[in-house]
């Protein structure tokens, strides 16, 4: 198949541009949205040159569709998250407007990151719908819907029910759920405080800028006004510093959203396990019924038992018929239980393999992010030393 060849070559994916568009939505009302240009290049092994093979425009809702499809068809995979739909954890200067160019730029980077994660995932990268997402502009939405993924997806209600009622989930998944809750809580907290700290830091820098204007007139005639520009430059340097930090915040946000992806896998396991337990329970009760009918003892209360007591016993032929039906159901049930068990074990095995892969990726990425944060702080301190050393010189010549 063509897509296998596609993946054998080395490819580069980039979301290179963002554009504001207007169009009509489902209710035929005019709306404004942003479209993103996705370019795919294949790299020839021999000379390392890249050739543009595909380029098309997609909007955020199409990315969402792709992800929902992947969630439905690959429940054992920790599916990479999308960048946030709306700006959260904003500090006051940062815009919460979806159309704001800075937000759009950060989202463009986030969407590119999402596609790169998919392309580097051993299982997801082979998916045909993903391939079409990158290559087929028109009709892609219809193609996705034709897969019937919405039916495959488990209802939230069912999943919730299973979470509460399951008796024997795999302990590792229970721990994983607990871990993902903690991860989400701590990263949210961290992002909230970081936003407040950024706000305050912004205030400190900006107020210093006010000094610049006042001082330029307080110096003796011999001084030049440019000297006091240092303080004005100090004040404006905070904008770049905080922009870099926003990138760091985005890296953390990705893992914040990954927590939900982890929980999705746990939910699937709970659902399957619950299903298994229910099937086993059902089988056990049928077996018992069968036994009771065969031996004539009624160990459990049943309506049938009561009615027979009230209205008389059934005939031996009727009883035989019922036993036969039950025996058939039991044999079917045993088959089903066997296959469900197998499915369950396969799921656990595959899911856990992907979770291990995810853990390694997470440790690597977060460590890099923390190091990059330190690098940012170092650069900020160096700039600060420079500015204040110059300022000190100016002051001493006042």
């Amino acid at each position: 198949m063509t897509e296998n060849n596609f993946w054998l070559k080395k490819i580069e994916i980039s979301v290179s541009e963002a554009e504001k568009r207007t169009g009509r939505n489902a209710m035929n009302m005019q709306e404004t949205y942003t479209a993103y240009l996705i370019e795919t290049r294949s790299v020839e092994h021999s000379d390392g040159q890249s050739v543009l093979t595909d380029s098309l425009w997609r909007r955020y809702s199409e990315f969402e569709l792709l992800r929902n499809y992947l969630l439905a068809f690959y429940p054992h995979v920790v599916v990479p998250p999308l960048p946030e739909k709306r700006a959260e954890f904003v500090w006051h200067k940062l815009s919460a407007d979806n159309m704001d160019p800075d937000f759009v730029e950060r989202r463009r980077i986030g969407l590119e990151n999402f596609l790169l994660r998919l392309a580097s995932h051993p299982i997801l990268c082979r998916d045909k719908i993903f391939y079409l997402f990158l290559t087929q502009e028109g009709n892609w939405k219809e193609t996705v819907n034709e897969t019937g993924f919405q039916l495959k997806a488990d209802s939230r209600l069912k999943a919730l029910n299973a979470t509460f009622r399951v008796k024997n989930p795999d302990k590792r998944f229970t721990e994983l759920k607990h871990y993902s809750d903690e991860l989400q809580s701590v990263i949210s907290h961290l992002l909230r405080v970081r936003a407040r700290v950024a706000d305050r830091l912004y205030g400190v820098y900006k107020v210093h800028g006010n000094y610049g204007r006042v001082f330029s007139c307080m110096c003796r005639e011999s001084c030049t006004v440019y000297r006091m520009l240092f303080l004005t430059r100090y004040a404006s340097s905070i904008d770049d510093i905080l922009e870099d930090e926003e990138h760091y915040a985005d890296q953390l946000k990705e893992y914040l959203f990954y927590a939900e992806a982890l929980r999705a896998v746990c939910r699937k396991h709970e659902l399957m396990q619950y299903d298994l337990e229910m099937a086993a329970q059902d089988l056990a009760s049928k077996k018992q019924q069968c036994e009771e009918l065969a031996t004539g003892t009624v160990r459990t209360f049943s309506l049938k038992g009561m009615t027979t007591k009230l209205f008389g016993q059934e005939t031996p032929e009727q009883r035989e018929a019922r036993i036969k039906v039950l025996e058939e159901q039991i044999s079917e049930g045993e088959q089903q239980l066997k296959s469900k068990n197998l499915e369950g074990r396969e799921f656990v095995k595959n899911a856990w393999a992907d979770i291990e892969r995810f853990k390694e990726q997470k440790n690597h990425d977060l460590k890099e992010a923390l190091i990059s944060y330190a690098v940012m702080q170092i650069s900020m301190c160096k700039k600060g030393i420079q500015v204040w050393t110059n300022a000190k010189e100016c002051f001493s010549k006042m």
Partner: protein
């Protein structure tokens, strides 16, 4: 008006000339050392007030002893300032801290307010001690040495309330006239005072804002570090990195606190004192103008032959001397004040720059050592994987 018997242009001893140059840098050259400390609350049925302990050490002959300890309250400081202004209307008397701060005060006597006031009162007395003329003022000596009852009885002497009120009325009436005939050098001085006042008020506001912002930043930072420790509890592979970051943030937090503290110790009090000085200067200029106005009105009276010309001529002679003395006193003190002001402001801001440099250097060192530890670990890990 009374004039001190010493002319400000002739310092009475070589020692007081040296005092003119140095402020608090070389205490061994000073012959009058004053400290203000130990604020204490006194509660009576009528009121609550704070007294401050004033300790004076001196080697001057005119003092009866070499060490004195007295307690004074803010009202006493006000009295002293009033006496100095009376005695030297055209000298630049050091400013007192405000009576009370209206904005943002819950109670009159919270600890920060008392401490700020104590520091300002300490400055006030030391500035007087360093002033070539004011340091020998008799009321100043009484203030530093007299016991409470002695001070009360001393206060009762001198011009009463009514005469002071009369002075104020005359002052308002004649001030405008004085402004019209102001010599050019004083016009220049006045312009400088007005510009300076604008600038220093602006700087004061900005500095207070900076302190507030730094304090808010510090408060948020305090919460930032511990979150990383919390996180490290659920991440076995990232424990070192997260704990490292937490420790860096905490160290930077402490450095911020130190920087804040430096600001409140050096820059803010100095700038605020000069805000008060700028108000003081305008008052001095007014008084100079009044003295001039008195002369001008008498000269006018002579021109229109309104009263006895011989008496008027005699009075005019006296007033001309008075005006000349007042102007010379002010000019000399002005030069001295300007010099001090430039030095004080320069050194306050240089110190602030120094504090900021030291702050960033501390933070830099913390983050760099964290980075080294991480990259060393990384190299270890990759070499382990390879082998």
């Amino acid at each position: 008006m009374d004039m001190n018997s010493f002319s400000p242009l002739m310092p009475t001893s070589p020692l007081s000339m040296i005092n003119q140059i140095r402020f608090e840098d070389e205490p061994d050259l000073k012959d009058l050392l004053i400290t203000v400390d130990e604020p204490e609350s006194h509660v009576t049925t009528i009121e609550t007030f704070i007294t401050y302990r004033i300790v004076t050490k001196t080697s001057r002959g005119e003092f009866d002893a070499s060490e004195f300890e007295v307690r004074r309250r803010y009202q006493d400081f006000l009295w002293l300032k009033g006496k100095l202004e009376e005695a030297h209307p055209t000298l630049i008397i050091p400013p007192l801290p405000e009576k009370f701060i209206v904005k943002g005060m819950v109670e009159r006597f919270n600890d920060d307010f008392i401490e700020t006031r104590r520091k300002a009162l300490h400055k006030f007395l030391n500035r007087i001690a360093d002033h070539p003329t004011l340091t020998f003022n008799e009321d100043f000596k009484v203030f530093l040495t007299a016991q409470a009852w002695e001070l009360s009885s001393h206060k009762k002497q001198g011009p009463g309330l009514l005469s002071r009120m009369g002075q104020t009325a005359r002052a308002v009436a004649s001030s405008l006239r004085g402004v019209k005939n102001r010599p050019e050098e004083f016009m220049d001085m006045n312009n400088f005072i007005e510009t300076f006042s604008q600038k220093i008020n602006l700087i004061d506001k900005i500095s207070q804002r900076i302190y507030k912002e730094e304090r808010d930043y510090f408060e948020e930072m305090k919460e930032y570090g511990p979150i990383h420790i919390l996180w490290s509890a659920s991440e076995e592979d990232l424990v070192d990195s997260l704990k490292g970051i937490a420790s860096c943030i905490d160290k930077c937090c402490k450095a911020t606190e130190k920087r804040m503290f430096g600001l409140s110790e050096t820059l803010l009090p100095v700038v605020h004192e000069y805000v008060l000085y700028s108000e003081m200067l305008m008052g001095v200029m007014k008084r100079r103008d009044q003295i001039q106005a008195e002369l001008d009105s008498k000269v006018e009276a002579l021109t229109y032959k309104k009263a006895d010309t011989d008496l008027l001529t005699e009075e005019i002679g006296k007033l001309e001397d008075k005006v000349e003395c007042a102007n010379n006193a002010m000019k000399a003190d002005w030069e001295r004040w300007k010099q001090n002001m430039q030095n004080d402001i320069k050194s306050a801001f240089t110190d602030m720059a120094e504090e900021n440099i030291s702050y960033y250097e501390q933070c830099l060192a913390t983050w760099e050592s964290f980075l080294t530890s991480q990259t060393d670990l990384h190299l270890e890990e990759t070499s382990e994987e390879k082998s």
